[in-house]
Amino acid sequence: MSTLTTQLRAELNVVRRNGEQLLVTLGIPLLLLGFFSVVDVLPTNEEDPVNFLVPGILALAVMSTSMVSLGIATGFERSYLVLKRLAATPLGTSRLIAAKTLSIAVVEAVQMILLISLGFILGWSPEQANWLLALCAVVLGTFAFAGIGLFLAGNLRGEVNLAASNGLYLVLLLIGGIVFPLDKLPGALSAISRCLPTAALSDVLRDALMSAGQHTTSSWIVLLVWAIAAPAVAAKTFKWN
């Protein structure tokens, strides 16, 4: 087994064993999609709320895996000196990052399959979906959120990082265009939200899957900026131990 495969397996074991990570990456997105699709209480501007929800929940899934799950796990690995110990093996930084990236890809693939399957079961009907464009959006979103997660993980103590990641997750869930349309938010908040990676990812996914993006061009720009800037800042500031 190569060193990369060995480390990928170890990364996936960490995800599998941490119940709270599975709750965030799978439990909450599935629950929100199922609940708000059946209980029509959201001001989604859609006849069938599932059509609004699926792209937003896919964005939430990307955020939960690449920001919350990766960030919290990495933060604790830093606190427990796991990263320090691994740094003294032949693994090397590049293969460690590659293993973490691949583990995110595996988890996101499982999330997408489950969420899209549930969406179809609940009556989701994508119109002229451009899956390739959606995949590009997911990749950019993954870079953006992983950058934010690793920035927090590389600079905060494990417990503080845990609280900050979960707090940010909740805020972005509420004001990131995932379950509430941005035009339902107060004016200033709506403007701020459009600059957030969650809103940008939700919007481009809605456009790619439902042809229902509202500010598609600006959302792609916002997402691209986050995808470049966040990992760059994380790489610049990350403290290994």
Binding site: T3, T6, R9, N13, V14, Y80, T89, L91, G92
Partner: protein
């Protein structure tokens, strides 16, 4: 060729000098103890040898490589045991050991390694459920997974019970017997005395002694006895021509072992003086000083 060569190493953290111009070497097939109290600069030195930090000045060579700039190639032959931590709490023992054996890829069988550190019965346990001694043995196993030519072990017996210490000592002795250069950082003088062939004594960031343990001990001898507390130390010192100090209810005379006859003569002079004064002579011992005493002597204080 020495396994580890440290020359004029200085490590600063801002204005604080943690390690001040130290030089030493570690040889294959030997245990070299980096010894000193907490904060003496041991961990900073050993972490520089492991490649975690660059020296502020001076140089470090491990297996003739620069550990900071040639980390990746060097780490396949170097075993590292951190002072604490290094394993995710939910990670299982056998999985972690197998992971490190695969990462090092040096042909070490995880099952054999598990047996060597006596953790077969804990193979399925998670790290968080291990006792202090078991954790130390597991960290040692991760270092052994490298089949190391050089092993850096930071406080390997810290927090370990007596049986666990014996097991760890046995493994370390085997490692050195098989040709590995073992560099052991510890603040436990007794541990160094049991394991090391060479001792490098750190005090406040500097090396105060660097010699084979046998040489260091034979250079410093002591005569130790107990008597009545009213014994006139000054008068005895004058009589034998050497300073007598009181240490833990014992009277201690430290001297360099000039020749074997000197010890006998010294005993004779002390016992005669006590006899003349009608004072008791109990618990008499003469011999090489313990490392603890040498350390106190060299640093002029307590550990």
């Amino acid at each position: 060729m020495s396994a580890v060569v440290v020359e004029n190493l200085t490590i600063r953290y801002g204005d604080f000098v943690a390690v001040d111009n130290v030089s030493f070497q570690a040889e294959f097939g030997e245990v070299t103890a980096i010894l000193g109290p907490n904060g003496a600069g041991k961990t900073s030195t050993i972490e520089t040898c492991e490649g975690y930090r660059a020296p502020t000045s001076g140089s470090v060579q491990v297996l003739q490589k620069n550990p900071f700039t040639q980390r990746t190639s060097l780490h396949s032959e170097v075993g590292v045991m951190l002072q604490e931590g290094g394993v995710y709490p939910s990670a299982r023992v056998h999985e972690t050991i197998a992971q490190y054996c695969a990462l090092y890829n040096r042909g070490v069988d995880p099952a054999t390694l598990l047996t060597a550190v006596d953790l077969e019965s804990k193979a399925s346990s998670t790290w968080r459920r291990l006792s202090g001694g078991e954790k130390q043995r597991m960290l040692l196993a991760l270092a052994l997974a490298a089949r190391p030519r050089v092993a850096f072990l930071d406080e390997p017996t810290s927090g370990v019970d007596i049986n666990g210490r014996d097991a760890i000592r046995h493994i370390i002795n085997d490692l050195a017997a098989n040709g590995t250069a073992v560099v052991l950082a510890t603040h436990e003088l007794d541990e160094a005395e049991r394991l090391a062939q060479r001792v490098v004594l750190f005090h406040q960031g500097k090396i105060v002694a660097n010699a084979p343990l046998a040489t260091m001990r034979s250079a410093q001898h002591e005569l130790r006895f107990s008597s009545t507390p009213t014994l006139n130390v000054q008068e005895l010192s004058t009589h034998i021509g050497l300073q007598v100090v009181v240490h833990q209810e014992h009277f201690v005379v430290r001297f360099e072992d000039i020749d074997s006859a000197f010890s006998s003569e010294l005993v004779q002079r002390v016992s005669t003086w006590l006899n003349d004064k009608n004072l008791p002579l109990n618990n008499l011992s003469v011999g090489a000083q313990r490392l603890e005493d040498i350390f106190r002597h060299l640093t002029g204080g307590t550990q």
